[in-house]
């Protein structure tokens, strides 16, 4: 009851927040999970397109594949959003925002593109999602003074991906 009342007040005028347990394992942040999830979104869009073009849409097997692809696309797009939010929310602090003032804009763009990829099947949205996560990954590694390179990933959907040079 009291919690619900405070939640309502918090939604109107947010209280200051405090973290009780910092993420463990501490200091382990890596945008590669988000990148792989973004690539998976594009790959799933491609599989859906192939199936819808060549397969019998009324067959149970094709319908099963389509439903699985939609489910996985939803999950992978959500994973992109979640992983990026964690890095942005927990790792990025004043020095990182000073060095990259556009970081929040890029993160917001990823949120919007992630949602667009859930809602639709446009490959252009998927490619834009990969590209936005690439920009975020470049920023992330730059805050650590680590160089990056852009290479085509050695598996479908064969898009260019930012990798750290370690």
């Amino acid at each position: 009851m009291l919690h619900r009342l405070l939640q309502s007040l918090d939604s109107i005028d947010p209280f200051p927040q405090a973290q009780a347990h910092c993420d463990i394992p501490c200091k382990i942040y890596d945008p590669s999970t988000a990148l792989i999830a973004a690539l998976s979104v594009v790959r799933l869009m491609d599989i859906m397109k192939e199936k819808s073009a060549g397969g019998d849409m009324t067959s149970l097997a094709t319908q099963n594949t389509m439903v699985r692809c939609v489910m996985r696309k939803e999950e992978e797009a959500e994973k992109v959003k979640h992983e990026v939010r964690i890095i942005w929310g927990d790792y990025f602090k004043a020095p990182q925002f000073e060095a990259f003032p556009t970081a929040s804009d890029v993160v917001h763009k990823i949120m919007l593109l992630g949602s667009a990829c859930k809602q639709g099947t446009s490959r252009a949205d998927g490619e834009a999602l990969v590209e936005a996560v690439n920009s975020f990954a470049e920023m992330f590694w730059a805050t650590k003074g680590i160089e990056t390179t852009k290479k085509t990933c050695p598996y479908p959907p064969s898009l260019e991906v930012v990798y750290p040079v370690l």
């Binding site: 009291l2 919690h3 405070l6 939640q7 918090d10 209280f15 200051p16 927040q17 405090a18 973290q19 009780a20 347990h21 910092c22 463990i24 501490c26 602090k93």
Partner: protein, 93 residues
């Protein structure tokens, strides 16, 4: 040990007067240099006048990583935890 506080809990805290020295064992709200605003268990005061911090959960950040904090970084003492299902005192007296 389970975390004492869960995501989404509200905490009622008592802002500490600048002259007041909190006691070890208190749950305190701290403005941490690297970790932002955090809630932790207060440890002993060191000879240099700084305070150690600890977590209450196995998933808490290690005490060594939390480091030691200055008295002025300790904002207040947590008094009550208001969770979705219960209201619990955090202040042991």
């Amino acid at each position: 040990m389970r975390p004492l506080l869960e995501e989404g809990d509200f905490i009622l805290f008592h802002r500490l007067a600048a002259t007041k020295v909190p006691k070890p064992g208190a749950i305190v709200i701290v403005h941490h240099e690297h970790l932002g605003t955090i809630v932790k268990l207060l440890g002993e005061e060191t000879p240099s006048g700084r305070f150690k911090l600890a977590g209450l959960s196995v998933v808490s950040t290690e005490a060594a990583h939390l480091g030691q904090v200055k008295r002025q970084d300790i904002v207040g003492q947590a008094m009550v935890r208001i969770s979705r299902h219960s209201v619990l005192p955090l202040w042991a007296g």
